[in-house]
Symmetry: C2
Amino acid sequence: MVSENTQRLTIGVDLGGTNLRVAAYTAETGVLESMVLRTRLEECPLTVVDDMCGAIQQLLDKHLDGRVLAGIGIGSPGPLELPAGRLHHPPNLPGWDGFGLLDAMQERLGRPVLLESDANVAVLAEYALGLGKELGVDSLCMLTLGTGVGNGIILDGKLWHGAAGMGGEAGHMTVLPDGPECGCGSHGCLEVCASATAVVKAAERLLADGKAPGLARLKEEKTRFTAQNLAEAARAGDPDAQQIYEETGRALGLCLAGLVNILNLPLYVVGGGVANSWDLLSPSLFKELESRSYVYALTAPDRAASHGMPGGGTRVLPARLGAEAGLLGACILPFYSTEREDVRAAVTAR
Amino acid sequence: MVSENTQRLTIGVDLGGTNLRVAAYTAETGVLESMVLRTRLEECPLTVVDDMCGAIQQLLDKHLDGRVLAGIGIGSPGPLELPAGRLHHPPNLPGWDGFGLLDAMQERLGRPVLLESDANVAVLAEYALGLGKELGVDSLCMLTLGTGVGNGIILDGKLWHGAAGMGGEAGHMTVLPDGPECGCGSHGCLEVCASATAVVKAAERLLADGKAPGLARLKEEKTRFTAQNLAEAARAGDPDAQQIYEETGRALGLCLAGLVNILNLPLYVVGGGVANSWDLLSPSLFKELESRSYVYALTAPDRAASHGMPGGGTRVLPARLGAEAGLLGACILPFYSTEREDVRAAVTAR
């Protein structure tokens, strides 16, 4: 018998192309302990599975004492076929095409495991612990601008998976039909226009064309571009860096305009490292969004009420949870899976 | 007491910018009788409301006898704010901005009325009586290529309304960022690239540029272009008409690629007059869709199984119901509203 006062423990895993992070979590305390390991992509996928299982077991041995295990949640790079839990040509896990991650984890652990894409666990965290909770909305769409662009969608409190678990790939929506080539085979996807990688590549292109003297100096000084040092240059007044962020905002606004027109959700969240430059990209983002989406123009927060629209209108905001969203989302995934209607209540209990 | 054998009657209204069509319907027989009236846009909206109510009353007087009224459904041009039932700058009902259609209808009739956008009743009809029923899918997205481009989305058996009833406006998704101006204020929306109006305008542009001698002869002969006579010209071998349809298909493919990437539904349906030229537009549509959506490339019907995907994969098909979809959808709207879980069973009973 489990007493009502018994704490429920979860283990969350954030599997990334560079690191894998594993945490022990309770609703009462939040993260009890977290570990970071390198993702050994030079080995076969089963070695990485063993690394994850080892870390999970370590945290279980240490923190299960007196608690009941509510579940183990994993956020994985996509594309991830669900419910099979199989990866399809994941760009950030080279060599893992066709790998049955869910089965492998369950077999090694001898326990059931919950698996979602990294973008889905991130949006789940924003829903239950971040902006979704703060604003009290049941539907939201999140774009995570990192190395690539992740996308997770929650509709009426449920993760939208689509028919094969591949819904929420707005990172590969075309924003510039003749834009740069994307790893997915298309051209001008949001991912090649607004990811951290895209920001750096845009600066490299300017340099290769012999333009942007300020950026040439920046590169000499820093040895390489990052989305962050380019943002600092923009804030310090470099016009080329400013223009790169302006174009990033425009691409994002164009994509969001499509998402607003299609889904008309109350909340769109932009996360990932590039979202730290909200000050630089949001002016062009909102200008593009206004002109590209009459639904947004009618339902923007400052005029939704005058059009008789409910609630606070269509909100587009930078994420609240930052880089921890993926790990937190993996940690609360077991609560979502067993108490879908009430995941927010479950994880916010103190 | 209503006996189990008492037939349930519905009245459906398809309010269009040119005509309004009203029908009496039972699940057992289908449409019992339908009437077509001109939509008197030169009068005030309340006059049109009176025309609709008069026709509804006429059909009720004639067909209610021995039956029970299950409800009255209306499909209206959008943008339509729901649940308020108020129109916002509807391009096909000039002068109706801000008009509270739902309240006006209920007041005049003295009865409750169910109101949805024309695109939503059309997708409901395809879901319950058309391709959705035939293929047994619970989620689908429909694009109706007519004067404008309508869009309706059903997710897990429910019409997706979004926060203000304005979900499903994929007709205003940008496909060509620098494309022609759209009535919504943006540029290069699907509506200005793939509607019947867009097909005609593309031909007019070629003519104005002094190109397309075959189309010049066609216009002389027919006095004006229509999407249909341009399709006939394309089938008869006119290269310019063929190119217009090829570009229409490409725009449609680009928009569908976004919808497949975002929603990953099992079925996308293309309806409206332009869909009658499926033979002309589908080759470029599928070519664009394949290259723009890796989700489609993985889940297309001919290879979904080899990727372990469930069911028949992602199907993109021309609509089954044709021009009657809007009226039929309005007729079955009362069944959907009362028996959501089982609207298909309700309306297909014979």
